[in-house]
């Protein structure tokens, strides 16, 4: 059905678009996805919203060759567990990278991509994926002011 799951999809949209998580003011732990209660501090903690920078490192990865129907269109693709600089780990796809070039420890940054399209004229879901970090252009400015 093309209208299936719309509210569910919409509820996590903002976190998915902007990598929004939770920060516990008591113990300074960051969480993704956001949590209402810090599992360490529970009632003594206080969580506020944090927007992660999108920078992180690959903690683990796999190249997926068989998927559910929604993702068949994109096979093969790389799924990775990315450890954000701010602490939490996030599961996402790694793009703009050849399968042979992914490495544990590789520096990556978040980008905005299509996650999937529902069949039969349903909605398009967007969200974060990660690509290898490339700051070479910044060095370029320093050498060519």
């Amino acid at each position: 059905m093309s209208d299936s799951g719309i509210p569910q999809h919409w509820r996590t949209m903002r976190e998915r678009y902007r990598l929004l998580g939770a920060h516990c003011e008591k113990c300074s732990t960051n969480y993704f996805p956001p949590r209402k209660v810090c599992p360490k501090c529970r009632r003594r903690g206080k969580t506020t919203q944090i927007e992660f920078s999108g920078k992180g490192k690959v903690f683990s990865y796999t190249v997926v060759n068989a998927s559910s129907k929604a993702f068949e269109h994109y096979l093969p693709y790389i799924v990775g567990l990315v450890e954000l600089d701010e602490g939490p780990r996030v599961l996402s796809q790694i793009v703009d990278c050849k399968s042979d070039d992914v490495r544990i420890g590789m520096e990556v940054e978040a980008c905005f991509r299509k996650i999937f399209e529902q069949e039969d004229g349903g909605i398009i879901s967007y969200g974060f994926k990660f690509r290898p970090s490339d700051d070479s252009w910044a060095k370029d400015y320093d050498s060519n002011p």
């Binding site: 569910q8 683990s60 997926v64 599961l91 879901s125």
Partner: protein, 395 residues
């Protein structure tokens, strides 16, 4: 825990077991599978329908696979036990184990005497893509499956990390698959009865790198049943009651996101700790294990997390055949999930059926572990959010 974990209870035994073949069983629906396993167990115990006081059935997703919820009520009805209370338990792939714990608690508490613990799953009425989709409900739907993770993919993430931290070689994973297929070839009820070589495994197509086809368990139809009774009356029904020494369950984060250590299933560690404490036994006492090898890597992690070897050292157990029948630590003598088959809701009970047969000396075709006295069954849900560890003994 109140009373330091020592709670008032009766001792409980398994008085009979029954299971169907596991596989692609086109002519058997959900009801037929549950009925077959149930009837086998009931007849083996020599009891009548009116003796059964409570039914607990594990089933992950009757609704999504065959459009049927209210599965336990359906099973009770089809078995002709219309007024017997029946409850379905769901804990993804640990539904069977979790159902077993509930059944055990019902008898141990004294509330009921004869209780049926079963599990059933009918998975092959849908196509492979849809089955993958349904199974992805065992992980975090919103933050794992939503982004394209499949079940093999999340275990592959664990495998890749394990290889990075402990230097695991791909051919060790192949050895696990070869062993389980060998055991499966000796088990007439196994989904796969073909033997394979390490080369077959290492050259099979990649599903989610580094896991290949032979690293992944199949999607199976099947059902299994165990009937429980208080130990004090068990001998009325069988000469070989199998004593339940402990059933322990524990949880962990639903997704890999919150796990500090990707290579340890904390739920298994916790459940195993409690089970051995409750049973007052040690790892050395275990003669046969049924562990949750949904993927070959999972079998290695299981042996470590259950405490049979140190973290990172499971590889050593596969270099000299000690995990084969006849070896020092036989693991998955019925073919495990890989070759025995994985009918999700039924697997936890199927493992208990195999341990029971082994402890009774009833395993055939060269699968019998000589003089097995104590066995362990280990059932996991998802990537380890639920784990159930059961210890059974002959005496």
């Amino acid at each position: 825990m109140p009373n330091n974990g020592q709670f008032k209870r009766r001792e409980v035994a398994i008085i009979s077991v029954g299971m169907t073949e596991f596989g692609e069983l086109w002519d058997k629906g959900l009801k037929d599978l549950a009925w077959e396993a149930g009837v086998k167990a009931v007849e083996a115990a020599g009891i009548g329908g009116k003796d059964i006081e409570y039914i607990v059935f594990g089933n992950m997703s009757g609704g999504l696979f065959v459009g049927q919820e209210h599965v336990a009520a359906l099973v009770a009805d089809f078995l002709g036990l219309n007024s017997t209370p029946a409850t379905r338990v769901e804990a993804a792939c640990a539904s069977g184990g979790a159902a077993f714990l509930q059944a055990y608690m019902a008898v141990a508490s004294g509330m009921y005497d004869i209780v049926v613990a079963g599990g059933v799953e009918k998975m092959t009425d849908v196509g492979a893509g849809q089955a993958a989709s349904i199974l992805s409900g065992a992980m975090d739907h919103q933050w794992e499956a939503y982004f394209g993770a499949t079940f093999p993919a999340v275990y592959a993430l664990m495998a890749r990390r394990y290889m990075h931290e402990y230097g695991l070689k791909a051919d060790t994973l192949a050895k696990v698959a070869v062993k389980n297929h060998y055991h499966g070839s000796l088990n007439p009820l196994a989904h796969f009865r073909n033997r394979i070589t390490e080369e077959d495994a290492l050259t099979s197509p990649i599903v989610a790198d580094p896991l290949r086809r032979y690293d992944c368990c199949p999607v199976s139809d099947g059902a299994a049943c165990a009937i429980l009774a208080p130990l004090e009356v068990a001998r009325k029904y069988t000469d070989t009651p199998i004593i339940i020494r402990a059933v322990a369950q524990a949880s962990d984060t639903l997704s890999l996101l919150g796990r500090e250590d990707l290579c340890t299933l904390r739920a298994t560690v916790k459940a195993a700790g409690r089970a051995f404490e409750e049973a007052k036994l040690s790892r050395k006492d275990i003669d046969i294990l049924e562990v949750h090898d949904c993927f070959t890597i999972a079998e290695l992690l299981a042996l470590e997390d259950l405490g049979f070897c140190k973290k990172g050292e499971a590889e050593k157990l596969y270099s000299d055949g000690q995990t084969y029948v006849g070896g020092e630590l036989p693991v998955n003598t019925d073919g495990g999930l890989k070759a025995g088959g994985h009918a999700v809701g039924a697997t936890g009970i199927k493992q208990i059926v195999e341990v029971t047969k082994q402890l009774r000396g009833e395993a055939k075709n060269g699968r019998q572990v000589d003089g097995a006295e104590v066995g362990l069954a280990h059932n996991v849900g998802g990537t380890g959010a639920t784990a159930v560890v059961t210890i059974l003994s002959r005496r």
